[in-house]
């Protein structure tokens, strides 16, 4: 067995990483196509206040974050109705409120808790056994939920008005979807870090959009890119003692740049063969 897999914390980190490598792109593809990219940032700011509340109350930060982010997700949906013409305003309002609460709560924690840094930037050593069970359990629920409403989410992302007319229950699916986003952010924060979760939702999708030739292919490639980023990121961060979140996201950026380079080379080759 390679050295990296001999430690229980690394085994937990890799299992959690693989689940997150499925969750983030599956949620991310619909976030990107529905032009809701900011929602990931907004809910992760709220997640921070959930973490600090957990630390302050000496309860599980994961459970507190879950409560905070689901409440915020429902708040965004509610506010969106009040600002129909300015949908992004609802997301910004919740982001501001989440950050304000987090800052006040952090000021109440007299000394900056080392654990807080782990949540902010990602730390592979902090996935506790009980955290792993929550990540596995809820992760499987979110992944299967997405597969079960995949076709409805596809139609809504492409043409919400037509989907509504065709009889798809838009409102119910929208609420369910934002709850899934909130759960994904909560589950991913240990590995990727609150500040970088939305990057892992968006970057693999951005790469696959450049080369995918159908919706199915874009989904498949997004998962592949996310898995490479997460697993390689965890391994690299272990050997070089780096923050796992930053390493994972940096690998996603490298993949994106490689995709651009691959496309440019292919274009040049095509032009060359044309001449």
């Amino acid at each position: 067995m390679p050295e990296i897999l001999q430690y229980a914390f690394m085994q937990r980190a890799i299992i959690a990483g693989i689940i997150i490598g499925f969750l983030c792109p599956l949620i991310g593809i619909f976030i990107v196509l529905r032009r809701m990219s900011l929602i990931g940032d907004s809910l992760s700011h709220v997640a921070l206040s959930g973490v600090v509340t957990g630390i302050l109350l000496k309860t599980s930060p994961l459970i507190m974050t879950l409560i905070f982010s689901i409440t915020a997700a429902l708040g965004i949906e509610k506010l969106r109705k009040s600002y129909e013409k300015y949908a992004e305003l609802a997301i910004s309002i919740i982001m501001s409120a989440g950050m304000a609460i987090a800052v006040i709560l952090i000021s109440l924690v007299k000394s900056i808790n080392i654990d807080l840094f782990g949540y902010l930037f990602g730390n592979i050593t902090t996935v506790l056994p009980q955290d792993l069970w929550i990540i596995i359990g809820l992760g499987i629920i979110v992944i299967s939920s997405i597969f079960l409403i995949y076709k409805e989410l596809f139609y809504m992302s492409f043409d919400e008005e037509a989907a509504s007319l065709a009889g798809i229950p838009i409102k119910a699916i929208n609420i369910y979807f934002v709850i899934l986003i909130a759960i994904t952010i909560t589950l991913s924060m240990r590995i990727v870090g609150i500040l970088l979760i939305s990057s892992l939702m968006i970057l693999p999708v951005a790469s696959s959009l450049q080369i995918g030739k159908s919706f199915k292919e874009v989904t498949f490639l997004s998962i592949i890119f996310a898995q490479i980023s997460v697993i390689l990121g965890i391994i690299v961060s272990y050997y070089f003692e780096l923050a796992s979140g930053g390493t994972i996201v940096l690998i996603s950026v490298i993949i994106l740049l490689s995709v651009f380079a691959f496309k440019s080379i292919r274009k040049l080759k095509n032009r060359h063969s044309y001449h």
Binding site: L33, E161, L165, A166, L209, S214, F215
Partner: protein, 249 residues
Amino acid sequence: MNKILEVNNLTFAYDKNLILDNISFEINEGDFAGIVGPNGSGKSTLIKLILGLLKPVKGTIKLLGKDINSFNEWSKIGYISQKAASFNTSFPATVEETIAANLYPQIGLFKRIKKEDMKKVHDVLKVVGMEDYSKQLIGNLSGGQQQKVFIARTLVSSPKIMFLDEPTVGIDNKSQENFYELIYKLNTSMNISIVMISHDIGVMTEKANKVLCMGNKKLIMHTNPSNTKITEILSEIYGDKMHLLLHHH
């Protein structure tokens, strides 16, 4: 003849601004109805009311014999909006993925698409003459081809009536001709009732058996109107200086 759509004493206002005042008309099975009228006369609003996207102040709407408030057979109603042509062209969907989407409500939540559903998709692609494009990304097609795909998307759920809101905006003349021929074919050979908003008066006089003229918050329906009659009506609603130039599609 079966009544597909019945609109009775319909009134609609945006806040206090009255848009439609007590209008009534009927569309029967196999009708090809054209809606004409100047911009702002409430043509799109009327279609949105019929589709339940807006709520009327007063009046009733019946689709396939059922009141709009309890109507649930939306798969039998097709709609192509002005927006259909202005969708996100970089969306990574193939032609067949786009069309299959309209079958999803019938397939139901939590169920996967089957082989016979994909056969329906390929059948409607043949009807609109786009069978060779099934694996292409929708964004890579021309405006005219995209509009045909949207027609196919509507057709796949076997509609009884199709509403089209200025469907040829932004499409070149040649593609417009093909498009109108296709709509006429659906009307005559598949017996799908058509309700189409268009500023193309030539198509209205040539293809439509009913012309719904809108203006001054009112609607007047004319059955099988002659060209002279149409000219008179349009002069009334668009203004005296209007002359009708007919061209054949």
